[in-house]
């Protein structure tokens, strides 16, 4: 028995790619083989992900389409017998958040949303990695949608933090307009007024979004915090973890998230999270962080300061984070994967 996976693009540090690889490992542990195919394959992954044109629907297997944008992977998925096809929805960035900077990419996002309902009848199994994403699938006509959270490589116990954290605010993710990093900078500038030693560490690449990155630099200068803000760009996992470990609080100001893996990574490093309420953010945190009404810079700064200066606030958040991490531990998620795929694998057997 085998389950092949189709993704639009495979790249290092890409959440969809990481999930495909993690699921492949879990399935292999249960005797289920299968390959990953992508329209675009980063050279670093060439030995683990195959070009889409080599994909052939297996007579004895099933196929899972990871849906995050329009790509020719959708066309390939249409060649799969419906009873052997599953769809996993990672959500699609609303095109309006990208159009000004990347109109071509925005069009692919729009097209992905337009064509999603076509798969409601076609896919035997529908999976979403959050209830937020499941609701969008149901809105597109899918029924019996299973929710399976992201399978993340979490430590058995979240890391212990020092009593007095460094006044460093960290945010991880691609530097793209949907992350609303300008709102992170604005809140940080208010915090910096009160804690002049505070620093902001922004981790993530801005490939294709240089103009947005440049505008953020000018914004930091206009706010008077350019010397306190570091744009790290793309870093290794080890470098990212080191930045988590020396930070005092994690900040997420995204306007849209289908899950947001860095929130969970931060929690697992023992880092308190402050996040704007958008998409699946509140659901992913599950009580393991402070959720702020969107784009309220003053309240965000107040929450950041409270986390950095008050042990009782950090303790409150840490209690919630521990509970949430228990729900997201691999041992809890792996059975959900197998359960969600069961109808597909039975049909294909």
């Amino acid at each position: 028995m085998r389950l092949d996976q189709l993704v639009a693009a495979a790249a290092p540090a890409d959440a969809v790619t990481n999930q495909a690889l993690a699921w492949q490992r879990v399935l292999a542990e249960h005797g289920i083989g299968g390959e990953i195919h992508a329209e675009h394959v980063h050279p670093q992954l060439a030995d683990r992900v195959h070009p889409l044109e080599r994909f052939r629907p297996a007579g004895d297997g099933a196929c899972l389409l990871r849906y995050s944008i329009w790509s020719t992977a959708l066309e390939r998925a249409r060649s799969v017998e419906p009873r052997r096809l599953g769809l996993l929805y990672h959500n699609i960035t609303p095109a309006g958040l990208l159009r000004a900077e990347q109109p071509a990419l925005a069009e692919l996002c729009d097209r992905g949303r337009r064509e999603l309902p076509d798969f409601a009848e076609r896919a035997r199994v529908a999976i979403a990695d959050s209830r937020f994403n499941a609701a969008e699938l149901e809105g597109a006509g899918f029924t019996d949608v299973r929710v399976v959270p992201l399978l993340l490589d979490l430590p058995a116990q979240s890391a212990a933090r020092e009593a007095e954290p460094a006044p460093a605010v960290v945010s991880v993710g691609r530097v793209v307009p949907s992350k609303r990093l300008e709102e992170a900078l604005r809140a940080f500038a208010l915090l910096h007024d009160r804690l002049p030693a505070a620093r902001m560490e922004l981790v993530g690449n801005w490939d294709g979004f240089d103009r947005y990155r440049a505008a953020l630099g000018r914004f930091a200068t206009a706010l008077g915090v350019e010397d306190a803000v570091t744009f790290h760009g793309r870093v290794s996992d080890a470098q990212r973890n080191a930045i988590y470990d020396r930070a005092g609080v994690y900040l997420c100001t995204s306007a849209h998230e289908g899950f947001c893996a860095p929130l969970v990574e931060a929690m697992s490093r023992g880092l308190a999270v402050v996040a704007h309420d958008a998409g699946a953010v509140s659901e992913t945190l599950g009580g393991g962080g402070l959720v702020i009404p969107r784009a309220d810079a003053a309240l965000t700064a107040e929450a950041l300061e409270a986390v950095l200066t008050r042990a009782d606030v950090r303790g409150l958040i840490a209690d919630g984070a521990r509970r949430r991490l228990h729900d997201l531990r691999p041992a809890a998620v792996e059975p959900l994967i197998l359960d969600a795929l069961a109808p597909l694998l039975e049909a294909a057997a």
Binding site: A9, T17, H90, P103, R174, F219, A222, D277, A306, L316
Partner: protein, 143 residues
């Protein structure tokens, strides 16, 4: 606050109320810098020149230095520009939009060419029986 926070049994509501009170007190005391709160991010976007768009109205070039009548001619030119400003500005915007579209098309074509070149090199290497170790590379979309 989220439902999950309530079900988790942690008292985040009281904390959030406390934080909101502190913000209100700071606002009342004038401690929140309006320059920070109100600074528009849109003002930081690249000016057309920096974004690779070269056309803009330059009314300062409409002048005359002729002895005696220069000032009057300059004034006349500026008045004409003022009368025609909307028409001229629209023309400039149309040109800039066309240039932007051309730039984007060029970028896309360059990306395609690079990808196809890489593919040709890989296929040639495969044809020669050499190990390639890489497939076509491309940008991946943001999530």
């Amino acid at each position: 606050m989220s439902d999950e926070a309530h079900s988790g049994g942690i008292d985040v509501d009281r904390l959030m109320d406390d934080l909101k009170r502190r913000v209100a007190a700071r606002r009342a005391a004038g401690e929140l810098d309006p320059r920070v709160l109100d600074l528009p991010f849109s003002a930081m976007e690249e000016p057309p020149d920096a974004a690779g768009v070269a056309v803009r109205l330059r009314p300062e070039t409409a002048y005359s230095s002729k002895r005696g009548v220069g000032q009057a001619i300059t004034l006349a030119k500026r008045v004409q520009i003022k009368f025609l400003f909307h028409f001229l500005n629209d023309l400039v915007e149309q040109i800039n939009r066309a240039l932007r579209r051309t730039d984007e098309r060029l970028e896309r074509q360059e990306t395609t060419i690079q990808r196809l070149q890489a593919r040709v090199e890989r296929l040639e290497a495969e044809h020669r029986g050499e190990p390639t170790g890489a497939n076509d590379a491309g940008d991946h979309p943001p999530r």
